[in-house]
Symmetry: C2
Subunit: 474 residues, 2 copies
């Protein structure tokens, strides 16, 4: 894809700036092509030059020093964690420095009695869960990729489990960040709730690096459930699967995960893993609770609801091995899906609507992509009303990308009509700036811009993301 | 109490302004002393002159008109809902207009399938629950008073039930507000989650009327639980009661309410209602779930944990009548407590700490108040680490108020040392502006001030709250 509209060719970094950066960081400041390119690529479809330098920070004080230098020289600074963004968040559309915090990867505290953990931003979710497991705890937010906690906060990530445990919005209690002046700001506390002033924590969560660089997070963690069971069931159509999910939630069953795979996704995992699953919309559910509660939920309530909607081949599993087998399809869906069209590039959508509108949104999107003739598959966090359609594109055919963009725009327009959002969990980044305006309205975007200008008057913090400007040169 | 430090005597309202207001609102614009005084009193201890005028708005367009007029004439505007603030939020410390939205009390939509409700800001929680009951749903946030949803959002209210269902922070999906220019801004959507730009919803939640006037809210609602049971138990000390609550939560039991009453609160309700309860720290718990789950939780797990901590007289109830009897003590605690010292005035604290620190915070606060010799009682939302100590003061003895303020300041300083907050659910208002700075730090308060200045450059929206200024005349 061509450069996004927010791309502005950047002047060379000032020599004095680079000298200071090198003096402070030695070999942890790099302008090598390979390092820069590695920090200039993510999972998005955009093609822009890499950042002009990369700095590996190892402490909050170092983050503050980099940001202060960038402010003094009006150089853009782009926080970098695990590089797993899907929306171009880490691309240097105005040039500048990629500030890599992946080495700030210490778990600072686990407070089991309070169900909190405090971590540096480069800690990944798998690393945190490994440490928590020994305490009988876990961190539920699972976006698929082994993303960094800092990046997950910055994009307000969620994934499976959100239907029960919420997203990063609900699970970050407080954080520390370096503001555009290079000062450290603390937000929140370890208390579960507070009415003390503006909710700066939640302003930073989802701010995509544009309001500050997150240097520490205190998150909620949860007791490992006494019992976990998983169930799969196949349905005659998307409608029936979604209605089943909706009713299970309405009945107050504390379902922890609720994932949909469409027939194409099943075909893909069958081809890849020889699973021999029925090639029909599949619902994959997980229940967390006590022994008695889990058995009761999965066996009785859910099966009855699924039966009512024509569910077939209901199967459930309580041992870890059996659960892993059931979940294989979901875990392999994305990579198996890509292999349905070897060499393809995927564009993935992320709309989220009220659950009563989800089937309509998915079915209309399927009708449109079928009419357009693009290969695709669907996976969905249906408990949240969120689904992803991956369009599988031939990189040599720009017409296919144009078609995918048209279909995506139709889908977003529909999601907004259905009272939903253009992005459930991936963020705005570069790709959805127009959609944000369509969704939130000019007034709300004007408020967001005013907040950005108040907190980053020079526009050095990840400029060109969420909305373009203000930034150096604007 | 004297006027707070943020009190600034206000000039008379401009005649042209009042003329325009009267032309637009006729008898719904009042400068009558009785109406003004009724809008100039809340549950706080401050004594300031009432607002200079009161306007009763009946629509969002009318709210926008009032705010626009106030902006044009630089007159402060103070949103008014049910008047149940404990922290002086509605007091006209810079004069101006009280904008009463209590007549905007329509429930606009209930979407049972999506578990959402959309309401005007004057709808009270009891009114909403009455409407939801017919759909098998409920709205869990219960701060005690029958507060308006707009006011509850503005103070980030919670109360009992938050341990399971969260606070207004977690339960507002989106809202509409009138900004300082008189424009309507929409935030959020009916989707359960979103990563679309800055979280303006949560910036408004807890903003205490200083960033905009909330004109509509979409909230999460919940299925009425299939089974509800309540349990009470008495403990040899606060420690044992809090440790019991902590372990129950750690075990992953989905407890919905978890309230503590100290021996003084029990004495008060015994005197008031002849309940004959043991005069010892009491834990009152409620469990929501399925028939099997609730029985299992309350009977087995919780009783075993309470036993370990020396709990006595464990009693539990599953019928509504039996539950109501158990809850009588909690519902009557505040009023009964006041009657322990007839004619007294109460100052109520609101610290919230990580639950592992709660017993220390309560016990030290009790030691201090006992040493000072003030009458008091304690009620606590212990599942959240939040408790309220009410100091019962003789209004004729200013020395008692001074003592209460000193004790309160000691308690807040301790709560902050214990990694908690000065206010779990009441807000900053007028009373805790110094505490906010102690808790959040100068850098965070500077960010909050920058946001306020960006969104309300003239300082007309509830000036003098949270922090003083910027405002007309500053």
């Amino acid at each position: 894809m061509n450069a996004p509209s927010s791309f502005v060719p950047a002047p060379a970094l000032p020599a004095a700036f680079l000298d200071e950066l090198r003096a402070g960081f030695a070999e942890r400041c790099s302008t090598a092509q390979a390092v820069r390119e590695q920090h200039g690529r993510d999972e998005s479809v955009f093609d822009v030059p890499p950042p002009q330098a990369v700095v590996f920070a190892e402490s909050e004080a170092e983050v503050a020093r980099v940001v202060s230098l960038c402010a003094a020289h009006r150089v853009p600074v782009i926080p970098y964690g695990a590089g797993s963004s899907l929306e171009g968040h880490l691309l240097a559309v105005r040039g500048g420095v990629s500030l890599d915090v992946s080495r700030m990867a210490r778990i600072l505290r686990i407070d089991a009695e309070d169900l909190t953990a405090t971590v540096q931003p480069g800690v990944t979710r798998k690393q945190l869960n490994e440490a928590l497991r020994h305490e009988g705890l876990f961190f539920p937010i699972d976006p698929g990729a082994d993303a960094s906690l800092g990046g997950m906060a910055a994009t307000r990530a969620s994934g499976t489990n959100a239907v029960r445990y919420g997203t990063m919005r609900e699970n970050v209690l407080g954080l520390r960040f370096v503001n555009a002046n290079g000062e450290v700001v603390r937000t929140g506390s370890r208390a579960k709730k507070s009415s003390a002033g503006y909710d700066l924590t939640r302003l930073l969560v989802g701010s995509e690096g544009t309001l500050g660089v997150i240097t520490e997070l205190t998150v909620k963690v949860h007791p490992l459930p006494e019992a976990v069971s998983a169930a799969v069931c196949f349905f005659p159509g998307i409608d029936a699967a979604v209605r089943t999910a909706m009713q299970v939630i309405q009945l107050g069953v504390p379902i922890a995960r609720c994932e949909l795979l469409d027939a194409n996704a099943i075909k893909a995992v069958n081809a890849h893993d020889k699973l021999g699953l029925k090639e029909a919309p599949m619902l994959l559910m997980e229940f967390h609770g006590s022994e008695a509660g889990v058995a009761e939920q999965a066996a009785a309530t859910v099966q009855a609801v699924a039966d009512e909607h024509g569910g077939e081949a209901f199967e459930w599993a309580t041992t870890p091995e059996a659960r892993t087998r059931l979940w294989t399809a979901r875990h392999h869906a994305y990579l198996s899906g890509l292999q349905m069209r070897p060499g393809c590039r995927a564009v993935t959508t992320d709309t989220c609507v009220p659950i009563s509108r989800l089937a309509e949104n998915i079915n209309a999107s399927i009708d449109e992509v079928e009419a357009a003739g693009l290969p695709y598959f669907v996976v969905g966090h249906v408990g949240d009303g969120n689904f992803h359609m991956a369009y599988l594109l031939d990189p040599a055919r720009p017409d296919e990308l144009a078609t995918a963009e048209r279909l995506s725009a139709q889908m977003v327009a529909r999601a907004i009509r259905l009272e939903g959002t253009c992005t459930g969990e991936h963020g705005i980044g570069l790709h959805k700036q127009g959609f944000l305006r369509d969704e939130a309205g000019d007034e709300a975007v004007a408020v967001m811009r005013a907040l950005k200008a108040a907190m980053d008057p020079l526009g050095i913090l990840n400029p060109g993301k969420i909305f373009t400007g203000p930034g150096p040169g604007d």
